[in-house]
């Protein structure tokens, strides 16, 4: 998707819409940065096994609630050489508050190396069997918590990295699905009107009138119990999207109803374009901005909703990790007061990703309407 920079200016009027969209998009700096962030997040999710120094469920009973370590570049002068090091901890257990107080141990240095053998085997992208980690302490048993540890002594950084896999994938599938259904039915109803519209509208109303809570409870009872927690969660998001398309479909229908009487649509029809072509080429593109806006709003909602489902026993269950799960684990006084990193790190991940998705959507929306504004 690259455009010849030198020819762009003089031939603007004859460019295809795809090229115009891209040109316009690139002018939206925030959107471009966001695009890279989103790509980055997906790369992290795809290569979580390499990037996370520890497996998601790996705990170290000696270091609950350990604060984040700082990585220093130094040479301890004991023959290990110049490089990156983290300090060990000194722990003190307070008998009154039952709190562990950690301080940095100046005498204990653990060397951090790149592409180090960790002893935890995994299959990279499901193919290559290895135990190399992007960066990890040379001594596999050394404490290494760059973003702190949780109550069970699990590395928060690793958990956030693994959490991206679920938070940035499964939720999106549900969003996509309801998007497809919503647009198809909405466009059909709006374009054909008459009996088809009548039927689709009644179906929509039936779906809208289903109360969600009892439906979820029914689903909770109906799903086969020998499915794994991930399959159940996936099934639930799919089922939710099967009833979640209604409002989008209504909006699309309303837009199509107004657009179908626009002059350019009428003109296309009079030119003999097929109905399908009219909808696809002339009506739907005008809806893109609206659709993108609703999708970007749906994504963060989905990330947060994954834990809301847990109260019905339908949400993500351990040992699965997602950002929603991590956020839920940090929702208590002890974490907020004594281990704020439990809250801050996953929140930051959610905030950054959703902001990036929102800006990306924003940029796409502006760009998606290349003929709408004046091209300067």
């Amino acid at each position: 998707m690259t455009t010849g920079q030198k020819t762009a200016n003089d031939r603007a009027g004859t460019r295809s819409s795809g090229v115009l969209i891209w040109r316009r998009f690139r002018r939206h700096k925030l959107a471009v940065v966001s695009l890279w962030i989103v790509i980055g997040v997906y790369l992290i999710a795809a290569f979580a096994d390499v990037i996370a120094p520890r497996p998601a469920g790996d705990y170290n009973a000696d270091y609950p609630y350990a604060p984040p370590q700082s990585i220093t570049m130094t040479d301890p002068g004991d023959g290990r050489g110049f490089g990156l090091y983290v300090h060990g901890y000194i722990q003190e257990f307070d008998e009154v508050s039952w709190n562990r107080y950690y301080t940095e141990n100046p005498d204990e240095l653990h060397k951090v190396e790149f592409f180090v053998e960790s002893g935890h085997d995994y299959r990279l992208l499901g193919l290559l069997e290895t135990d190399r980690k992007l960066f990890a302490p040379a001594d596999a048993d050394a404490p290494f918590f760059v973003m702190g540890s949780d109550a069970n002594g699990r590395d928060i950084f690793s958990r956030v990295v693994y959490g991206a896999q679920i938070s940035m994938s499964i939720g999106l599938i549900g969003v996509t699905l309801s998007l497809l259904i919503g647009i198809t039915l909405g466009a059909l109803a709006g374009f054909f009107r008459g009996p088809i519209d009548m039927v689709i509208q009644r179906i929509t109303e039936v779906f809208m009138s289903i109360p969600t809570l009892p439906l979820w409870m029914a689903l909770a009872a109906a799903l086969p119990r020998d499915w794994g927690p991930l399959t159940i969660y996936f099934a639930i998001t799919v089922l939710l999207s099967l009833i979640g398309w209604t409002s989008l479909s209504r909006e699309v229908r309303a837009r199509v109803l107004t657009l179908r009487s626009e002059d350019y649509v009428v003109a296309a029809r009079l030119d003999g374009a097929s109905r399908f072509r009219v909808v696809r080429r002339h009506i739907l593109p005008s809806l893109t901005s609206h659709i993108i806006a609703s999708v970007t709003l749906a994504v963060p909602a989905m990330i947060l909703a994954e834990t809301a489902l847990s109260f019905l026993g339908l949400g993500l269950q351990p040992p699965l990790v997602s950002w929603g799960v991590l956020l839920q684990e940090s929702q208590n006084i002890r974490s907020v007061i004594t281990a704020p990193w439990l809250l801050i790190v996953p929140s930051a991940a959610v905030v950054i990703s959703t902001l990036a998705l929102n800006f990306l959507g924003d940029g796409l929306r502006d760009a998606a309407d290349p003929y709408g504004g004046a091209v300067k």
Partner: protein
């Protein structure tokens, strides 16, 4: 009929201790002197809580505000208000001074039990501050029990007056019993504490003004303890006849008209609302109806539901004094602020705004409290909960699936899983290294402590675990997962509630790892508490986890973790319901079930008068519990933290916690006093509620 006087109770208790230490305690026989045995019967903690004096004292002093009232002629003079020789309470910090206010925090608008615990623990007979088996006098100064425990004669404290000055007599008790509790309109259901094991009502007679006799058809061995536990509110001595008669149709023909005037449905609604439980809110009428006379240390000043604060002031007719004859209570006013979450209460306590409170503080609040106690001048109260276990795995013994049931009822299966748990590590990680590994058993300090039950299958030993499991599920598949009797990979799911059980969820994640090591797959099903209970009631679960209660004196009153009893013990709730409520409520266990043996023993406990024999039977019952091994336990519950302001004297800094115990009621809050009463005035109601505003934006998790 031979009567055992109350004073012989001590001897009986000594004997009981000797027999109960026969099991597991290898101590030398000469160590079992009278002191030693007393310690074993006791819960083992000397809390330093105030105690009842052997002596009585003539009233001689009163609070300044009552002096004013007396001078104005609004109340009787001191010597006429109180008994000549009044009940005397001794506090460790001695005689105090009048004045000041105590501030507490209620969790939600329906937390009337908190008020009751501070202001109204006035049962017929009381637990003492150390929660020993030795029941102490309350409203009844003395009592006799027939040898077969079917006749109880209570001699009431003479000279007690209701808070309006009318005398309290045996007549009030007969009224409360016959006209309220036995009245089918007012009390449609049974009153369990009052009925004998056969479910029969006793015959209650007033022998004279100060003597009441209860005749049960069958022996009621646990009746005294049931009177002391006072957790239900249907105690028969709380209904002032002279005031309530006007609302009762048997005494006032126009009671129904009166009800109509006051816009009640009928006289029964009016009576209940005025004197027992306020209809609509379910709140105890003693804290809603200022006209209702009481015999408690404090009476209501600002009723509940009028705002965000409930206050109670001293009862001018309270019938207890200190060792110098000063009328109690010392502290002028109890102030209860209503908050809607435990978190806000914790912040309130951390800012030094709670005078004494031992409830509503989870372990998670401990660092917050500990770190602010120096700055805000309070200390932590060490609360030993009756909860005997942090986490019990209740395997469904009546699982609808035959394969599951067969495996779950096999002791080897549970023993194997138990050995596979690294409890030390779990305690270290989840419970801050506090508590000891333990199965579901009465905890240290209970007279019913049973070493075998507490410590069987407890050590972490993967080999031993595999050995046990091999006897049940010997086959494994390629990935090392054990196969069930049906040849399928065996796995089960654990239901855990999401609210307030963060610790449980974390413990399960660890258990999941340990059990994987021995080839057992466990799935964790977190869900809402209500849904979980629904599944439990329907019997549609594999394993249900929760913490274990009733681990001290109350083990004998509520044995549901040691044998199927009622619907609380989820491992076989249907059997428990069958035992308590008959065929309609639940299903009978198979004939070879150990439950039958246990029920036979418990039936005998219920009709046994002698505490000594009760303890022997209980031990036999727990022997069977050990054999059945109903549940897998994790560890003893760590003590919880309460808060006590540093200027508050006579208030215990250690105490026991149980709903059957009504803490801190047994520690006589009436005898607590302030070093600096003029400083101890509650903050403004609006300021107090400002806390809610301050923390509202934080979206703190809800507590339920």
């Amino acid at each position: 009929m031979r009567h055992i006087a109350r004073t012989t109770a001590g001897l009986a208790l000594g004997a009981l201790a000797l027999t109960s230490c026969g099991s597991g305690e290898p101590g030398p026989p000469e160590a079992a002197g009278p002191d030693q045995s007393q310690r074993l019967v006791d819960t083992g903690m000397e809390t330093g809580a105030p105690v009842l004096s052997e002596d009585r004292t003539a009233p001689s002093g009163q609070a300044p505000d009552l002096e004013d009232l007396e001078e104005a002629g609004e109340i009787l003079p001191l010597e006429d208000r109180l008994p000549e020789a009044a009940v005397t309470i001794l506090g460790a910090d001695g005689v105090g001074q009048y004045g000041g206010e105590m501030q507490m925090a209620m969790n939600g608008n329906d937390d009337d039990s908190l008020i009751r615990r501070y202001a109204a623990y006035e049962p017929m007979v009381r637990w003492d501050g150390d929660w020993s088996s030795d029941i102490t006098p309350g409203v009844a100064r003395d009592w006799e029990i027939s040898e077969d425990a079917s006749t109880f004669t209570f001699h009431l404290e003479e000279g007690i007056r209701w808070s309006d000055g009318e005398p309290f007599t045996a007549d009030d008790i007969v009224f409360g019993y016959e006209d309220v509790l036995m009245n089918e309109t007012l009390t449609p259901g049974p009153v369990e504490y009052l009925m004998d094991p056969g479910g029969n009502w006793p015959e209650v007679t007033a022998i004279d003004d100060y003597t009441v006799e209860l005749d049960f058809e069958e022996p009621h061995g646990l009746f005294l303890m049931q009177l002391a536990r006072a957790e239900e509110d249907g105690k028969f001595h709380r209904f002032p006849r002279h005031y309530l008669e006007q609302f009762h149709t048997d005494y006032n023909d126009s009671a129904d008209d009166l009800a109509e005037e006051d816009e009640y449905e009928d006289w029964a609604d009016m009576f209940t609302s005025k004197g027992w439980v306020t209809l609509g809110t379910g709140f105890d009428s003693r804290w809603m109806n200022p006209e209702l006379p009481q015999i408690n240390a404090y009476i209501i000043e600002t009723p509940a539901y009028e705002g965000t604060r409930v206050t109670a002031v001293r009862n001018p007719y309270y019938w207890k004094v200190d060792e110098e004859g000063n009328q109690l209570p010392y502290i002028d006013r109890l102030v209860f602020d209503v908050y809607d979450s435990a978190e806000v209460i914790a912040f309130r306590a951390a800012a030094g705004n709670i005078s004494y409170q031992d409830r509503h503080f989870d372990h998670d609040f401990r660092p917050l409290l500990a770190e602010s106690m120096e700055e805000y001048d309070f200390s932590l109260v060490d609360v030993t909960s009756t909860d005997m276990n942090t986490l019990l795995f209740n395997f469904n013994h009546i699982h609808p699936d035959e394969v599951m049931r067969e495996v779950f009822t096999d002791v080897n299966f549970k023993a194997g899983l138990s050995h596979a748990l690294d409890r030390e590590e779990m305690i270290e990680l989840i419970y801050f290294g506090q508590g000891e590994p333990s199965q579901a058993a009465p905890r240290e300090g209970s007279p019913f402590r049973h070493e075998k039950l507490a410590n069987q299958y407890i050590e972490f030993d993967t080999e031993l675990a595999n050995e046990h499991l091999d006897r049940v599920l010997p086959e494994t598949n390629n990935s090392g997962n054990r196969l069930g009797p049906d040849g399928q990979p065996f796995s089960f799911a654990v239901d855990v509630a999401t609210d307030r059980s963060v610790e449980h969820a974390r413990a399960l994640e660890l258990a999941q790892g340990y059990w994987e090591q021995v080839g057992i797959t466990m799935e964790i099903n977190t869900m809402d508490r209500d849904l979980r209970n629904e599944r439990r009631d329907a019997g549609e679960f594999d394993v249900y986890v929760r913490d274990g209660s009733a681990g001290l004196q109350d083990a004998i009153l509520r044995p549901h973790w040691y044998m199927p009893h009622g619907d609380s013990g989820a491992y076989a709730w249907s059997w428990g319901s069958y035992y308590l409520d008959g065929e309609e409520a639940g299903e009978a266990p198979p004939e070879d079930s150990l439950a039958w043996d246990q029920w036979e023993l418990y039936d005998r406990i219920l009709v046994t008068a002698d505490q000594n024999e009760q303890a022997e039977l209980m031990e036999a019952l727990l022997d069977v519990s050990a054999e059945a091994f109903w549940t897998i336990g994790l560890s003893t519950s760590p003590n919880r933290a309460g808060v006590v302001a540093n200027g508050l004297r006579n208030a215990p800094h250690e105490l026991y916690e149980a709903s059957a115990y009504q803490n801190p009621g047994p520690a006589y809050p009436a005898v607590w006093w302030w070093e600096d009463p003029e400083e101890r005035i509650a903050d403004d109601e609006d300021d107090a509620q400002q806390y809610v505003e301050d923390y509202e934006g934080e979206d703190l998790p809800e507590d339920s």
